[in-house]
Symmetry: D2
């Protein structure tokens, strides 16, 4: 009944060109692996850092319902002007899914208002993501936990605002925990941060991880509402001060 959701998957797309190990895992780029996992009922597009305007023109963003973001080494190369543009679109209702090292992207830090700093370790260790919001639509079809044999560790403190809803908490073999699935609303836009997805592991081929991202895209779809009115407004009811005047 509804039109297809328009999803735009943005990727830094550098590791896959420069690093043999990453290239072996994601030969067409992380964005393509994510996109393949989203299924066939969405209108999926791609954009990458080195395209003009990073592939994020005004028109392109206007035509996007949900933006998925993966970045790592080149956050600083994303232009402030385009970050501003994405920020406006999120407040106006575009959904935003921030993945893994995207926690340090300019857009996520700007929306959160904090450093989004955390602990990390690359040691091929086990991660287990436990569902702690059992009724949340982002966890639909997921069992008690998702197990990933090898991933990068991210550990608390994670310097973010307390999430509106905490969907996943990760257990790491090395002794840490992490708030791995966090929802936020900013303006009319819904935001989901999802931890897994280091570039050297085949995480985005994992069926459960794909299901979570798919669920998140649907959850983050814009709500059809008029833009809010701000500024100087006439009273809706008679004022004593005006009657006396």
């Amino acid at each position: 009944m509804k039109d297809e959701l328009r999803v735009l998957i943005w990727n830094e797309f550098r590791h896959e060109k420069n690093n043999e190990k990453v290239k072996a895992v994601y030969p067409d780029g992380i964005h393509r692996a994510i996109g393949e996992g989203l299924g066939h009922d969405l209108a999926i597009g791609y954009a990458t850092l080195d395209e003009e305007e990073h592939g994020l023109s005004e028109q392109r963003l206007e035509d996007t319902d949900v933006l998925v973001w993966w970045g790592h080494k080149a956050h600083r190369e994303v232009s402030d002007e385009i970050v501003e543009r994405v920020h406006k679109r999120v407040l106006a209702g575009m959904g935003l899914i921030v993945l893994h090292s995207g926690h340090f992207s300019k857009i996520f830090k700007k929306l959160m208002g904090t450093t989004c700093n955390l602990k990390w370790r690359e040691a091929d260790e086990k991660e287990r993501l436990w569902v702690v919001s059992p009724g949340h639509p982002i966890a639909e079809g997921i069992g008690e936990y998702i197990e990933l044999e090898q991933e990068e560790m991210y550990g608390e403190s994670f310097e973010i605002p307390a999430p509106d809803e905490l969907v996943f908490v990760s257990w790491f073999e090395g002794g840490e925990v992490f708030r791995s699935g966090c929802t936020y609303t900013r303006g009319q836009g819904k935001i989901f941060y999802f931890r897994p997805g280091h570039e050297t592991y085949p995480t985005y081929y994992n069926e459960e991880i794909r299901k979570v991202i798919r669920n998140a895209v649907h959850w983050a779809a814009p709500t059809g509402r008029p833009a809010p009115l701000f500024g100087n407004r006439k009273p809706l009811e008679p004022l004593k001060s005006r009657q006396e005047a």
Copy 2:
């Protein structure tokens, strides 16, 4: 693609038989007026207090995705056993929409853990429900506010847990405010409390009020997930204490 949502609308259904004024507004009962407002893409059923088991047999509840609840004068006549039954179904994932004076129903008080007490006044006064969560799916299609020319007043303090999400705040002509649209999750079940709907006003014929209830029903649809496992569990990782033994 998905099957039709199965919605069960429960009504005390006494005022409409005993009170001429109410009968004039809702000749077929408040439940029918609510049901008519839900549109044609839902499988809608009805149940009322004076039916056997209040119309809420185990099977009936098992076959319900979202339960809508309107009660007022006869909360005490609802049997504790059936309240227990509804409670279990909500924790297992059935959605629950509690309307107006349902704030004092046994099931809502049990789920909230508080008295759910509030201020009230019947004085044909104006209510304006402001959207304060502009991106929330329950507010889809709603403008800045909904205006009701005449309603009963409900005022703060409203003794409820802080809602997970506060969707509407009401302004009343007589000087009070009220948290009028509140979401909660309990177990796997999603709950929405929505304030308007005093039995002497035609509130449930209002198109915007109907849209909110319709949105809420869709929002509260169960998330397909296995029942949680509780109790004594074997370790998922080897324990030093066991290796030493």
Copy 3:
């Protein structure tokens, strides 16, 4: 400047009489060990299950600012009438600290509105409680985490309402995580659930655990405010409906 806070520590006090292992760890009862850890600037009292009215007379509760609760095997023996009494006092502003197996106490379940069920395992395993709300007063003086060499495991899903604030998340050696420090407000009363403290381990002698409980007691101190007014109220502003009449 303020008067001393009046803290009442309630303990089931059965294990310490019936079980040699527990008696060896807590010869005077768990309540005494908790009380000793609270320091010298509080007015501390004790109450136990087998006292008359479980040591929780109307007067005793009236004279209590913060109630600490430890129970395990005999939750059902706590009378419903006294649970009702404690519930009223919490809503009226008395703080409540629920420890460990107290998650299954009648009072906690009543306040939460859910089953408060969880996973558990007694296997002498390591627990590490990570601070995830770094600015929270309950974490004052605590480092990044508290490590307990041996504890009972509690694992997710923990069937509770999403906490108002999540202060601690536990990592367990056996592969689970748990929301170990959760705050709630119900009515005017502040509630803190704190996970550690199985009866066979010397957890309540641990200096950091004691500091958390001490912090929680101060955090849960009642806020001096008038009781809320409920029921039928006159308008604060002139109503058009009344002027016309």
Copy 4:
């Protein structure tokens, strides 16, 4: 027992020099009126826009426990460098109380990650601030509501993140509502936004308004905790991947 809290009250301090009406209400500046209302158990200092570094040197901020902020017309004149400095101090634990038109200050917008836009009207109308978190320490000593005979109106939508805790909701004579008392935690810092205080009204002489600001200052006091550790970290537990290597 604890040392005096060190409070720094920052004011734009322009209206009081340029506008006769404002000068008449606050002859020594809004900051002085706020400071007088804070009582005698705090170490109070003042800083204003036109001082060097806006009175907010590194040392001054280092020596501040809670910063109170009032600004209106000259938000843009606050240097980005100093906003950055205040931001860092908040994340490190300094409390921040943002008053009235401070909603549009650079520091508040940066911490919130949203526009912080709202509706407004200057029409000498009545405001009634209802307490909706009855147990919150910021509402200590406050009755059901605070009434202000004349204030500027601020109305929803207020484009902020959903507050961690919503303490006050305002009713306005002209028909609007507003989330008037909002708490947030960012990093280790506690933030309170409090709506009232337009420069042409004697709001900061009102005893209840002063009590709220006083309560908020105490609530926002820093929690003594070590700075969080971020970055690359060694495992706390042995890793299979390392043992195999």
